[in-house]
Subunit: 339 residues, 2 copies
């Protein structure tokens, strides 16, 4: 890393170095366009489809860059991560590709499919009781006992730089953008993307999107310090993070113009639109940035707008249940196929 | 067209010429691979994602090539098509891109979304009562009265050559294939793909996939003549064609090794798998070729297998209803997101 500092954990060169490390390992994902999205927003929308990334989300980029940045000794000892979601699978696959042993700490009641997916990438999964045990303390103890390097989900320079390659590729593909909309959880993706985008396009407005019931990033930015929220109940499980990161928050203060709130209903409707019109499967958090563009709280008319579709890991069961909640999906349509 | 004849309506050069005409107009779609698909089949599966094609299916290729092949006089008078499905939208968009007026004959009770989509591409939609009127006679009369050129959905050399570009691109992308699995309705896609594939790879086995309740192609090939079936009730609306085409059938006789039958349940399960593992939305007909690979009726172990995912035009309502029919999608999962 060049010149890591509290307010500048990474710079454009770090993101470029990450892109070189990811070359051949991460997918260079599509940038989707759609007449419908343009008509609904009045903008020219360019959506970066990280739902097609390996392991189903942008998280693979950061994990892969972090793994690639380890020295030989750390590699030999192995890595650890705690996550029940996309970060777990991302670290598991990144570790396998770098031939590094991985231990993933997951709650015992995590969806069996997610535990199985993480194991299938070759990681050792250690489960814990999420109601009785402190995940972070457990993770740290495990890492210490075994000499493992902990790969945090967002608050790490190599992770932030890796996520920034999303914006780098988007810029390479579509050139100038007036606005870049990015979903916000711990802030790894938006910090990396904002770093790259503002360096490449000094005039670009980077805007975050977070669940309305959470809004801890928006409030933290308003008061100028990292607030801590109860983990909110939102369908956007990828954004259920109690606080912005220590490393990511200063980047957001410097590079992010605003954070827009989106409701769970808006996330579901955006998922439905993406399914019907773009034939892509996006998880709730993954729809947040586009939902912000569609919600009408930003005037995007006539602008060139980049949007991250950050992940696609939503099971069919959950997808169907979410659609039903909004009245999408009517069983009486069975058999009504037009010949 | 070079040397059109009853048994060879198109050859590899026609497909290559179609590819040049489609360049810049049709999407060069992705070829998807998946560890899961490989594990389930024992093969190395390369799936051509025509669900991402413009208008949502491979039909755009054939329609676009047919439009590009018209002379100036025919262009000025305009084209017609009768279809309630993917061919309608394909002809509508292809005509708009070639600045040719298009008239599409659709049943009055076709899904309003499909009529709206066809209109949105700039076509004039003429509706008819499918229970009282003969679509083909009506279409021919309309074409005669207005001097329009009818673009048939499959039985036309330029349409067949256009569909063949699917196999051409697949071969360019992945090289040798042992088996190519293609869904069969009227036979336009498989005739074009078989023409290209067998010319490029003399050893390749081209195998069709059709709904088990229909099986008119399989039976026609068995007896050596084009049988006619009642339009069968299958969820695979893209394959509800009563008979193989006059032009396509001889190509199938010459180039297609076998036709495998797939059940509606197998189509739904394949759609569910594609949703969950590859994050892509595929309509029932579009899942037929992969369903055939997964159904275990072919021994594909150790082989390199190309598969067409031929379209993605399934509305969310219908998708949810189909999933429910097989028990995929359980409402009690709501809110069970892992933090």
């Amino acid at each position: 890393m060049t010149s890591p500092s509290p307010t500048t954990p990474v710079d454009l060169e770090d993101v470029r170095a990450a892109a070189r490390r990811l070359d051949g390992l991460a997918h260079r994902t599509r940038v989707l366009t759609s007449r419908t999205l343009n008509a609904l927003t009045g903008a020219e929308v360019h959506a970066k489809a990280e739902c097609d990334q390996r392991t189903g989300s942008f998280k693979f980029r950061g994990a892969c860059n972090a793994l690639a940045s380890l020295d030989a000794e750390d590699r030999a000892r192995g890595v650890a991560a705690f996550s029940s979601g996309n970060h777990a699978q991302a670290v598991a696959l990144a570790a396998r590709l770098h031939e590094v042993p991985a231990t993933i700490l997951m709650p015992a009641d995590a969806p069996p499919a997610k535990i199985a997916a993480t194991r299938s990438y070759g990681a050792e999964v250690v489960t814990y009781d999420r109601y009785a045990e402190d995940r972070e303390a457990l993770g740290r103890r495990l890492a210490e006992e075994r000499g493992l390097t902990l790969i945090p989900p967002f608050d790490h320079p190599a992770v932030i730089a890796g996520q920034g390659t999303v914006a780098l590729e988007l810029h390479e593909e579509v050139g100038d953008l007036d606005v870049l909309l990015v979903c916000v959880g711990g802030g790894g993706l938006i910090a990396g993307c904002a770093t790259a985008a503002t360096a490449l396009l000094p005039e670009v407005r980077v805007i975050g999107a977070e669940p309305a019931v959470r809004d801890v990033t928006r409030r933290s930015l308003a008061v100028g310090e990292r607030l801590r929220a109860e983990v909110p109940r939102t369908i956007a499980d990828g954004q259920q993070v109690p606080s912005p990161g220590a490393l990511t928050f200063p980047v957001l203060q410097r590079c992010v113009e605003d954070v827009v709130l989106v409701t769970d209903d808006e996330l579901i409707d955006t998922m439905a639109l993406l399914f019907e019109r773009l034939k892509v499967v996006v998880e709730p958090s993954g729809a947040a940035a586009l939902a912000a563009a569609l919600a009408g709280r930003l005037d995007l008319r006539g602008l060139r707008v980049g949007v991250t579709l950050s992940g696609g890991n939503v099971g069919l069961d959950r997808f169907a249940a979410l659609m039903e909640r909004r009245g999408w999906g009517l069983p009486d349509v069975i058999g009504a196929a037009a010949p």
